[in-house]
């Protein structure tokens, strides 16, 4: 079964807010000078910010904020966030791989930005509300 696609907008302001809340102040997430200096096309989103947005999709699909039991991702490609008001968008979709007898649902998740996968092997197990 395919779950409805969810879309998340990401702007530079989001990255600044996430840096503060998470404590990850790596300058590649806020300085174009430093990001391009290490060979990136520009400022990129924290991988963990992308993972957090996909986490929102998971709890949204599950219908419960505390539903996530197991969640893993591989960061395949950076999410480049331009310095403008639009930023970029991450699209998140998933298919149900298995529903266990214990009421757990295993999902295979796809996250894309500008049509390219930014995560590979993204999987989650969520508790389905009783």
């Amino acid at each position: 079964m395919e779950l409805p696609t969810q879309t998340f907008r990401v702007t530079r302001a989001d990255l600044v807010r996430y840096a503060g809340a998470s404590g990850d102040f790596n300058p590649i997430h806020w300085s174009d000078r430093i990001a391009t200096g290490v060979g990136l096309p520009g400022v990129i989103a924290h991988g963990m910010f992308t993972m957090a947005l996909v986490g929102r999709a998971l709890t949204g699909w599950a219908g419960a904020s505390d539903a996530v039991v197991d969640y893993n991702v591989r960061f395949a490609r950076p999410v480049v966030v331009p310095d403008d008001d639009q930023g970029t968008e991450i699209e998140v979709s998933a298919v149900v791989r298995e529903v266990t007898e214990e009421g757990l649902t295993r999902l295979d998740v796809t996250a894309t930005c500008r049509g390219e996968k930014v995560l590979s092997q993204a999987r989650a197990t969520v508790r389905t509300p009783a």
């Binding site: 998340f8 809340a21 963990m48 904020s65 505390d66 197991d70 960061f75």
Partner: protein, 148 residues
């Protein structure tokens, strides 16, 4: 870059207890745009059976990143942090993190490999309450990019 594989299995001492605050959970939830009542409103969290507001699934990064800094900054291991990118991440929950938890992290090195001139380091962090109740296990793989 190549990392010394003899570090595999090494465990680091427990961190000082981290007090999970209600406002920190709200701040983190706001930063990721999560408006779920259970992340912000203690009453809504209690209705789900939790003692206080619940943390979003990736919240433990706030603790585990600090715990793993001791590994990444261990001069004996010699990771060049400016060449580090995040490879994989996993959270396996026993129960959600809630405000009021006092959590201790014990990190260890699960795997070190080298491929194509890059080093790969997988850490595992066991996050438990000060009373020893397991809460979540967090794996993180970083890639230390080789000099091209």
């Amino acid at each position: 870059m190549s990392l010394d594989p003899s570090f595999v299995g090494r465990s680091y001492p427990p961190t000082a207890p981290y007090q999970v605050g209600r406002e920190k959970i709200r701040e983190f939830a706001t930063a990721i745009g999560a408006t779920d009542a259970a992340y912000h409103d203690p009453e809504a969290a209690r209705a789900l059976g939790h003692p206080d507001v619940v943390a979003p699934p990736t919240f433990p990064q706030v603790l585990t990143m600090a715990a793993n800094a001791r590994i990444v900054e261990d001069p004996a291991l010699g990771v060049d942090y400016s060449r580090v990118v995040h490879g994989d991440q996993r959270f396996a929950y026993t129960r959600p993190v809630v405000a009021g938890d006092e959590l201790v992290c014990v990190s260890s090195i699960d795997e070190i490999t080298s491929r194509g001139g890059h080093g790969f380091l997988t850490t595992r962090t066991e996050v438990a309450t000060v009373a020893g109740e397991p809460v979540v296990t967090v794996w993180s793989k970083i890639v230390v990019r080789g000099e091209a």
